[in-house]
Symmetry: C2
Subunit: 317 residues, 2 copies
Amino acid sequence: MRNFADSLVRRIDELENPTVVGLDTKLDYIPQHIKDYAETLFPEEPTKATAKAIWLFNKEIIDQTCDIVPAVKLQYAYYEMYGYDAIKTMLLTARYAQKKGMLVIGDCKRNDIGSTATAYAEAIIGKTDILLNDTMEMSGLDACTVNCYLGIDGVKPFIDVCKRDGKGIFCLVKTSNPSSGDFQDLELTSGEKLYEAVAAKVSEWGEDLIGEEGFSSVGAVIGATYPEQAVGLRKIMPNAFMLIPGYGAQGAGADEAVASFTAYGKGGIVNASRSIMTAWQARSDYFGPEDFGKAARFEAEDMKAKLNAALHNRKYV
Amino acid sequence: MRNFADSLVRRIDELENPTVVGLDTKLDYIPQHIKDYAETLFPEEPTKATAKAIWLFNKEIIDQTCDIVPAVKLQYAYYEMYGYDAIKTMLLTARYAQKKGMLVIGDCKRNDIGSTATAYAEAIIGKTDILLNDTMEMSGLDACTVNCYLGIDGVKPFIDVCKRDGKGIFCLVKTSNPSSGDFQDLELTSGEKLYEAVAAKVSEWGEDLIGEEGFSSVGAVIGATYPEQAVGLRKIMPNAFMLIPGYGAQGAGADEAVASFTAYGKGGIVNASRSIMTAWQARSDYFGPEDFGKAARFEAEDMKAKLNAALHNRKYV
């Protein structure tokens, strides 16, 4: 039986690279020549032109990084913003990345209860016969992010699909944004903070899904921007696999990003979105717009080197 | 300037009916003859046949209830589960309901930060120029549900769109499910429970969006299954408009559903999904499958009568 966490750990080890490329593709990130070309293909259909531009961009980023980066993270919000053709592009991107050997994480932060949570789980990470007269696999991503405010009712349907299909989830525990403390840092009468209480539950929920490599497919999202808290969260969730946003554009460096990794330098994957996608803009002295894919690869190599250096000389323990 | 809460309050008053029909359309709810017909239209394309069946069902429910029910609630999970053609159907359903005079609430429980939250807000309730060479209005629902675990960073982008376009949000405060207490009922050192702390913030966030009718377009989701808590939550959020799930299939009755209404019987809207959509099954002694729309109308009239009776003789105050 496939276990998502095992697949992820092994691919990270193979590539010696605990990073995930975030494809939060905004039109601003796409070079003008790609957008112009897409418009010539669909001059009267802006939603199709938009979706095509995003696809051409995503495909090149995947082609340039699939042999050095283990996973991609798709941010649902942007695809939804650009309309249903873009949603189709997102699913196509997921398929393509999987075909190229990458694991695909849907960053959708979904949450609901009972049969509705099951519908989300099936939509995003499931593979079932849900259409009239069909057995088509719908979305079939490898993992997704989940918001746990509704309690176990909202999480169990996802865990059930994880068990059945060898998929994974990352539960929001301590997010990377400045106001994450508004509720997450509230102090409980138990002596914990709310995010610590959530972490304890996530650890418990994941016990059945710990793979051969020692990590659970029920993982957690821990912002790189809160390294002290991240160190404590590893103690509360010794077996959770951590998805770590906040590196780069949000201000955290490599030292902060690896704070929740185990003492052996395992159990985490660090996301970078904007810095990879817009490397062609940031490094315009080296790369032209037509080399946006190569610039992304260069940036990904740079990030890999920085994370490995930080793992060999830990600042937060 | 349009204010969502004003529009909602006025339409509820006009129809004397504080209910919203939930279109959480599952294939199981749709009569066989509709599904058969959809398959004859798209024999080789199951995603299109599925989407067509859902559309035909939704349209009839709207036609039969638009003159007696002020709003519809679209549950995103099911449309996402059935694929991108179904997502298109969801947007078409939203447009059609609006054309028929109904307000449309997207039950998507979205949550993210910064520009990503803005993307969700624009995708769901916005109307902006975001496509290549186009000024198309994308989704343009009247309101949506939001999960606040990420704090104000995740909510402000939605509030900004509400202010700009006269839209609304409903923040998850105390959800209707059995395990909603896992985190929401945790006791804080401040003496509040977590859901009360969330409620206090929601009330504060909504101050700028209080309309002429005295209610804010920053509303709250309060499960009908927790009536005692609902009474307390009205005190914490005197101006919030409450979206109330849990009536009917989840076990709460009319008395429980109106617990968070003001002393004047205002400021709430009660959702029913399954009981309306499957009225043709539950009342099969009166209605055949071909009369599923009439059965839905009958059930909606029944619910209206029960809620008004409960409002005239309040059990929870």
